[in-house]
């Protein structure tokens, strides 16, 4: 086999050195194993490599060859003239001095080219340089680019993907708020502050409707300082009159010079627009990871090679992160090996053992359902209690009791979300699943729990609003007396839930993690503190937390248009708080349970698609549409893989026939 350039010395560094042998091998691996050296010529390999290169690198060159390894002398010049664009020199697996020599050779070759080819080469080179520069400039515009890069460098790609998901949510909420602002808030503000020459239009209502839309805003006589705090925290009082809540938008239209802007319609359209946008954007983002995860979890194809050869994250530079990664890899490998052994054991299970296991599982699932039912009932009670007592004179209550009553549903929901994962984790041990399945089922149950609690809250409110013991609701379809403006009150509940969720995240990060870190640094002599104190950045929990927050935002955004703006600010604050707590504690996450770090968050994102403005059929519909979309991509990819495999097969059969012919001719 010839070298890539006829006149240069062997491209392999100093001769007589193991390194040279190495380099030669990369060219002439055929010397050592004739059977498989054409793996790189397989059509499937070439097209995968071509696709990966166009995605990742700045070159759009096709036909990736490290060296023109299969070129004989006659093709040599043609090969080199083809690859004359010097960008391709980068792709040679040589060190810099050798690449320089190769480039010099190519440049002398170039002298024999026509003017036209020279000009073509020069212009494509400068075009590529320009495109690179443009890419670099647009990269600078990315929000938090340096922060996330440094997190990736210090803590690895798993944690980095959490922060980049957080950034995505910030942008999503910002865009949602822009949509709402453009369509709803802007015309109102323009008219109110007389910037444009437009007036409000109040469409006259029929008598019955008038009763239903009358909304007495409560204003208390004596104003205490803490009532402002309470109002801020619960969305009542002065906040009710602002544009924070749906009830504020009583205007029916805005009359501009040429047309009347229908505000209710705009409100509805903006809702549909931002929901559709969120769905599309999330599906687009999550399909990649979902797809990869589906294939990986269903086929166990090459999972060991992937873990061993691509398992170490070379970005890690922190000693403790490295230790965590070591232990996480150890854990994963052991878990995989164990799972394989368990699978073999399961295949050998007797029928009576199977019956025993299945009845045990049934029993434990009933316990899980019982736990869920208890939580839901608790939420129902708390919401009912809170709603009833809110109607009483709030100013008469003591400050603490006041707040407790208002936040009771949120407190109960958060407590339930905290306790149930622990319970589920304990239960699942007895169900005798393989370790990977155990973890996935636990996470599924926790996600279901979180979303179901929001549904229960909304459902309870709905039932309270429409419950009536006399003819009070015949007029308007809901309990007009108790809930004169029910949309605002649902919005208030969502607002409270969001604020409380935010407070809890801050409180846990500041008042639990930080003292823990201090304890570990200063009292490290105590073994107990050492064991308990070394907390890690649990990626699944954190991702679940922010997905939950985003779900609240989506549900509440219809009733409280400014909620996305609040969510944006909330996520920005969470970003900085988490980043600093990570920097302070300097720990990553161990036991990346579900699978390798990078694609972990995406398994949970589709769950968030289950959020919809109203619980019910649209919820299920959205989820299944997204799932169908993801599956369709997987099917397409598998079909493509099949066709690549068949092309490989044809190629190999052809080679085999040629080889047999050569053998016969000899």
């Amino acid at each position: 086999m010839s070298e890539s350039s006829g006149s240069a010395p062997p491209l392999g560094g100093p001769s007589g050195h193991p390194g040279a042998l190495q380099e030669n091998l990369s060219v002439d691996s055929s010397c050592f194993s004739p059977a498989v050296n054409f793996l790189q010529e397989l059509p499937s390999y070439r097209s995968i490599a071509r696709r990966r290169t166009t995605l990742l690198s700045r070159d759009k060159q096709s036909g990736i060859l490290l060296k023109p390894a299969d070129s004989c002398g006659s093709h040599l010049e043609g090969e080199i003239t083809e690859n004359l664009n010097s960008q391709s020199i980068r792709k040679y697996a040589l060190n810099i001095s050798e690449k320089r020599r190769l480039r010099a050779i190519q440049e002398t070759q170039m002298k024999y080219l026509s003017e036209w080819d020279q000009w073509k080469r020069y212009s494509s080179k400068s075009w590529k340089r320009f495109v690179e520069k443009a890419h670099e400039m647009t990269r600078h515009l990315e929000l938090w680019r340096e922060d996330i890069r440094s997190i990736e460098g210090k803590f690895g790609t798993g944690i980095q993907s959490y922060f980049s998901f957080l950034r995505f949510l910030v942008l999503l909420n910002l865009v949602i708020f822009m949509i709402i602002f453009m369509l709803v808030l802007l015309p109102v503000l323009l008219t109110r502050y007389k910037i444009t020459n437009s007036t409000f239009v109040y469409i006259p209502l029929k008598d019955a409707d008038k009763q239903c839309t009358v909304y007495p805003v409560s204003s208390s006589g004596l104003i205490y300082f803490y009532s402002y705090i309470i109002d801020l925290l619960s969305g009542t009082g002065f906040l009710e009159e602002t544009s924070l809540f749906y009830g504020h938008y009583t205007i029916n239209g805005i009359k501009f010079q040429n047309f009347t802007y229908d505000l209710p319609l705009a409100y509805l359209i903006s809702t549909i627009a931002y929901l559709a946008l969120s769905l599309l954007w999330i599906v687009k983002r999550s399909v990649e990871g979902f797809k990869v995860n589906l294939i990986r979890s269903e086929e166990h194809f090459q999972s060991y090679c992937n873990k061993i050869f691509a398992g170490w994250d070379f970005c890690i530079s922190n000693r403790s992160m490295a230790d965590l990664k070591h232990s996480s890899l150890r854990y994963e490998l052991r878990a995989d090996l164990e799972e394989e052994r368990i699978r073999q054991k399961i295949a050998q299970r007797t029928s009576e053992e199977t019956i025993r296991i299945y009845s045990l599982r049934l029993f434990l699932n009933c316990i899980v359902l019982a736990v869920l039912a208890v939580c839901f009932y608790a939420i129902y009670l708390a919401t009912t209690f809170s709603q009833e007592h809110m109607k009483k004179e709030i100013d008469k209550m003591v400050f603490g009791e006041n707040l407790l009553v208002l936040y009771l549903p949120s407190i109960v929901i958060t407590l339930a979300n905290f306790i149930t994962p622990i319970v589920f984790a304990k239960i699942i041990h007895y169900e005798d699943y393989s370790p990977g399945f155990e973890i996935r089922l636990t996470i599924l149950r926790c996600v279901f729990m979180r979303l179901a609690t929001i549904c229960v809250l909304v459902f309870t409110l709905g039932s309270k609003i429409t419950s009536c013991d006399d003819t009070a609701c015949e007029l308007c379809g809901y309990n007009q007396k108790l809930y004169p403006c029910w949309e605002t009150q649902v919005g208030q509940e969502m607002y409270k839930l969001m604020i409380f969720d935010f407070i809890i995240i801050l409180a846990v990060t500041l008042f639990v993690d930080f003292p823990r870190k201090l304890l570990v640094t200063y009292c490290s002599s105590w073994k107990l503190i050492q064991c308990w104190g070394q907390q890690e950045f649990a990626i699944p929990d954190n991702v679940l937390g922010i997905v939950y927050g985003q779900t609240i935002c989506w549900i509440g955004a219809f009733f409280s248009p400014l909620l996305p703006a609040i969510a944006t600010v909330k996520f920005i604050i969470i970003f900085y708080v988490k980043e600093n707590s990570l920097a302070a504690s300097g720990n990553g996450s161990a036991n990346d349970e579900v699978s390798c770090g990078p694609s972990l968050p995406w398994t949970l994102v589709p769950a968030s698609l289950a959020a919809a403005p109203r619980p019910g059929t649209s919820l299920i519909m959205f989820y299944f549409i997204a799932l169908a979309g993801a599956h369709k991509r997987v099917v397409m990819q598998l079909r493509e893989q099949l066709s690549l495999e068949s092309r490989d097969k044809r190629y190999l059969i052809q080679k085999l026939t040629e080889a047999q012919q050569d053998l016969r001719d000899q």
Binding site: S29, Y45, S86, R103, C305, I308, S317, R330, S599
Partner: protein
């Protein structure tokens, strides 16, 4: 170019940009970090391009310090006759292969060389055993048991050894890597 003697010339920068996958900023940053490892009197441009840094100094940079493959990386990229030191261009080569935009082919080629502990051109059971031990940790108690190791290596060879000769050569390695979704994102070093 005016200014201090510790800046690279424009032509040199352009040349390095052509020959590696690094951006101009990354090359300048790499030069700065490399010069910091040199002794005080050798930190100007001409010397920094000629001098070599010993392994102990290179291995002390934070990006490599925690890496279990750091000795292998340095050995693979070193062009010194005794293979025990790195020049600035070796350092650039290193960063180029580990950069964002390097092609998967380049990365898998060098990954193969890094994982080939005995430098014989194939990954045999011994190489794979040492590779797994690097991944799981350095202590005695962190290594897998003998039976687990055997089960693991059997699985790896079953997935990747196509010609069933008990070793993985470069082609088989690159073939396996091409189907591995995580490789490109984990085989990265960010300065």
């Amino acid at each position: 170019m005016g200014g201090s003697g510790s800046r690279l010339s424009k032509e040199l920068l352009a040349e390095y940009q052509d020959l590696t996958f690094l951006t101009k900023q990354e090359i300048v940053q790499a030069h700065r970090r490399f010069s910091e490892l040199l002794p005080r009197d050798k930190q100007n441009v001409e010397d920094s391009l000629r001098e070599r840094v010993s392994f102990e100094d290179i291995l002390s940079i934070p990006e490599l310090k925690a890496n279990p493959f750091k000795e292998r990386i340095c050995k693979v990229f070193s062009t010194a006759p005794s293979r025990d030191s790195l020049s600035f261009e070796d350092f650039l080569d290193l960063l180029s292969v580990f950069s964002d935009t390097a092609t998967p082919d380049i990365k898998s080629h060098y990954a193969f060389r890094i994982f080939d502990f005995d430098d014989d051109g194939t990954l045999d059971r011994e190489d794979l055993c040492r590779l797994v031990n690097c991944l799981t940790g350095e202590g005695e108690d962190t290594q897998l048991s003998a039976s687990e190791m055997k089960q693991l290596i059997d699985n790896i060879l079953e997935e990747s050894d196509i010609d069933r000769d008990g070793t993985i050569n470069l082609s088989e390695f690159q073939h396996v890597i091409s189907r591995s979704p995580d490789f490109v994102s984990s085989f990265k070093i960010v300065l």
